[in-house]
Subunit: 535 residues, 2 copies
């Protein structure tokens, strides 16, 4: 009877299994605590925190995904945990704007989200790659329901206002024509002998066969109008039934048109590891993850707490903060250790006695600009008129992106598009505008692609990340040079303070970066705490 | 007040709108009939059937999607309609096998589906491309809920027992390496001058830039181990957070390995028009479409009716049939016109007095062999162990295909894989086996890809289409030559008989082919009926 699970009576195990199946492991953990069984088990989370020193405490700054992951695991491992959060809600950049929400940006502009019930945008992260395993682990653990997120849609558009007379083109046509052109060119030079020194005769034959199949070339290795090319790029008239069923092939672009359009600049995106199938999103908005963490942590999080100073000494760390709902008095929180997840753009403005290596790193990393705009329309015209179900249209215009909802397909009701998601210079331009101007600009540019905008638009909301009071930017924008010089200094524990967040990761802007940075940091904090307790 | 909708009182319109939103148009049609409002409206379906002659009748043979589409539209247009169906259920090849179902194939082998509640396989069609607009139209009309079907999964496998020591490779790696190899080769010969006569200098520069980006080449236009290639093929160690977050690039295959593997033979599939995002499937099984049509048509369908002879004369068409639940007496059904959707493989054995052109066409078309096998496992190991969420693994072994469910992602319960979907010689081999042998073979070959099979398998079911009593084959397999000689003769109305079904379309095997062939055929039958009534 050494296996601790054997100590559970069958009925008790059944109860726990039942709870676990329905509500996820977090609920099971609570139930186990209530039944008094966890004290016998060892900690078994995604990082080894076993043997936490009795009474050891950690102060966590920021209730985003990094901070709440740390709080969850440290609490489960037996640490005393306290979290200070600037906002009145958990999640940080894990955030969903729904009808009825209000949001006030730097400069005082206050927006009221007028979306209908059930409609939303995620101003921050909005998709979860299948290989972001830690994030997916917590979704399961916390019972956050997931659904597929459609990133790549062959029937969505690629658009360059300067190409094809400004007419958007279907992704399937651009992709097929680019690959067909590449295959045709390579087949041609191969038969002309240009690869004779690179490949054996047998390999050249295989290459040619592969190019014909993969490139949708005809029997003569040509990419031309016909059944072969239309089987990928789509038809002028689709195949159908009966006497009128014969398909009519479509006309490919010339290689000249294609190269001039510069639409090929975006063709790499669908093959990028982060955008590969199958991606997911929480049903009802990304914010459900932060909300679930917040419910799980309950009273451990103190909201509306604006940290104004962080002071460590040889015994612990004190954070000074203001309660933003009761201006005036400064309060304090203290613990043996501190995990600080405040974005560097904010943290750089908060006095903190750390060494120059960490301080320099904090000051070194610029924050990327980005703007996201949600637009509500009276009907889902992209589905009804254009047969676009989810996915992303890319445009060379200042809005960069139009994304179609990956949920409620075929519903006859209203819908919200992500009407702009830009960065760089375009994002700074949009940041300088008022929210209403941003929405107008998104409508103006978007209507080049979807002329239905004008008639169907109802309301919009625009988040410019450099005006978000608690981040003043979208994410830490590392260059290779900056990373070589500062990254390790940013991540190394300084006395009793460790940093975490997407900025302390090789996955900037991704929630998985925030979570894995937190797991890495608390693992190292734990080792120090154990070593300190033993010494 | 000439607009007929203005005749509805507001409250009545509200009632109708409410019904339409929740239950689809079919329910609204029934409600409108009950409220007595449809008699004033004209027919407005996807084919022009307005002005049906009073009392005109159509006999429809087969309650698959072709037959039921025709019955639905003809009934709505005012025709008297009767459908004869061999099976005890509607749908034909639109068919879902669920736990508790039984199925008896030619030869008498009877299988009992032992899947757990909620699990299923679709032995026939299993996915709906976004451009199959008529099929999607009926799903909306009949209130069939749809969800995304994941066809392409970058993390699923490509497998050739003879390549890479039999080890399956991730699709993302094979795809990235093939494209990288193609891009590298074309970039090389371009810089060597091989395209100087084909492209201008400016276009060659654009081509090179595009190859570097699209092909994930490094700065020197090489496809080698490094950050560039791993950003598409995936990493040896994924990027993460903190001090241990640095990614480790993975090693691409050599062009020799890649070409020898012949895995490139399948790389065209994800770009095929029918497999492009976004595809759909009915929630709970494809059979829900046939079931919804069946509910809608109700008593118009006579089940268990085995047609034994079709006889037309100058006034109408008589079908002779046996009630398979009461052997013995032959019954008759008669109407002015007949739409016959019986598969050609069966129809060729039924006496019917049509001209030699149609008769020859019926006899000419062979039917494709195919076998599908569903396997239930104790847990969804493909998700838990291998992070494969939906999509298809392709193998050169006799099972061809392993497909992972596109629903219930992350559930901790059991799961059903499509453990084989083959055609051609492999399908004939599997058809010759007993159902139990087929399942064993699927397990044997599949365990080369998923060694978990052995431990986790629970039960399976196998449908070999050449042994399905009511089709004796999977779908009409047209060659270009056969189509040139026989297709129009098959589709042309012969006297008072028209044919429809996927076999009478340019979309063989697809439900959209069946539906569009039916719409085309009833449009022409209607014209004849109208012309006959006027003469």
């Amino acid at each position: 009877m050494s296996d601790s699970s054997a100590r559970f009576s069958p009925s008790r195990r059944e109860v726990l299994r039942g709870i676990g199946l329905v509500a996820g492991c977090a609920a099971m953990y609570r139930a186990m605590t209530a039944l008094g069984v966890t004290r016998e088990s060892k900690y078994s989370g995604p990082v080894d925190l076993s043997g936490a020193p009795r009474g050891a405490s950690v102060l966590i700054l920021g209730a985003g995904l990094a901070g709440m992951t740390a709080a969850y695991e440290l609490r489960n491992a037996g640490y005393r945990v306290q979290v200070l959060e600037y906002n009145a809600r958990p999640g940080g950049r894990n955030w969903t704007l729904r009808g009825g929400d209000t949001y006030t940006e730097l400069g005082g502009e206050r927006q009221h989200c007028e979306f209908d019930k059930g409609l939303y945008i995620n101003p921050g992260p909005w998709r979860i790659p299948y290989h972001h395993e830690n994030l997916l682990h917590y979704c399961r653990e916390l019972g956050v329901a997931l659904e597929p997120f459609v990133q790549v849609n062959y029937n969505a558009y690629m658009h360059n206002p300067e190409a094809f007379g400004g007419k958007p083109q279907r992704y399937r046509a651009v992709k097929a024509d680019y690959q067909g052109t590449v295959a045709e060119l390579l087949a041609k030079v191969t038969t002309q002998g240009a690869l004779d020194r690179d490949l054996t005769h047998e390999d050249r034959e295989k290459l040619l066969e592969s190019l014909r199949s993969w490139g949708y070339l005809d029997q003569k290795f040509a990419y031309v109008r016909g059944d072969a090319s239309s089987a990928s790029r789509g038809w002028e008239k689709d195949p159908g039934g009966g006497l009128r069923g014969k398909p009519v092939p479509s006309q490919p672009f010339t290689s000249k048109q294609l190269l001039d359009s510069r639409l090929w600049q975006l063709l790499f995106l669908p093959d990028q590891y982060e955008f590969q199938t199958t991606l997911f999103q929480p049903v009802g908005g990304m914010g459900h993850i932060g909300e679930a963490f917040g419910r799980e942590l309950g009273g451990l999080i103190r909201y509306n707490a604006k940290v104004t100073r962080i002071a460590q000494d040889e015994h612990g760390v004190t954070a000074y903060y203001e309660d933003t709902t009761h201006a005036g008095a400064t309060r304090q929180a203290r613990a043996d250790w501190c995990l600080c997840t405040i974005p560097l753009s904010i943290l750089g403005q908060i006095p903190m006695n750390v060494g120059s290596a960490m301080a320099d790193a904090i000051a070194a990393v610029p924050y990327a600009a980005s703007v996201k705009i949600g637009l509500q329309f009276k009907r889902r015209f992209w589905e009804e008129d254009e047969h676009i179900f989810g996915g992303v249209t890319y445009t060379d215009s200042p809005i960069f992106t139009i994304s179609y909802p990956s949920t409620d397909f075929f519903s006859r009701g209203k819908g919200v598009l992500l009407g702009a998601y830009n960065w760089g210079a375009s994002a700074f331009q949009f940041t300088a505008m008022s929210p209403a101007q941003r929405v107008r600009e998104a409508l103006r540019w978007g209507s080049q692609i979807h002329p239905q905008y004008e008639k169907e638009f109802e309301n919009g909301i625009a988040v410019a990340w450099h005006r978000v009071p608690w981040t003043m930017g979208c994410f830490g924008e590392w260059s290779d040079e900056l990373r070589a010089r500062h990254y390790d200094s940013l991540c190394r524990i300084d006395g009793r303070v460790a940093l975490a967040g997407e900025h302390a990761s090789y996955l900037p802007a991704w929630q998985e970066g925030a979570i894995t940075s937190a797991l890495d940091a608390i693992g190292r904090l734990h080792q120090r705490a154990v070593a300190g307790a033993k010494s």
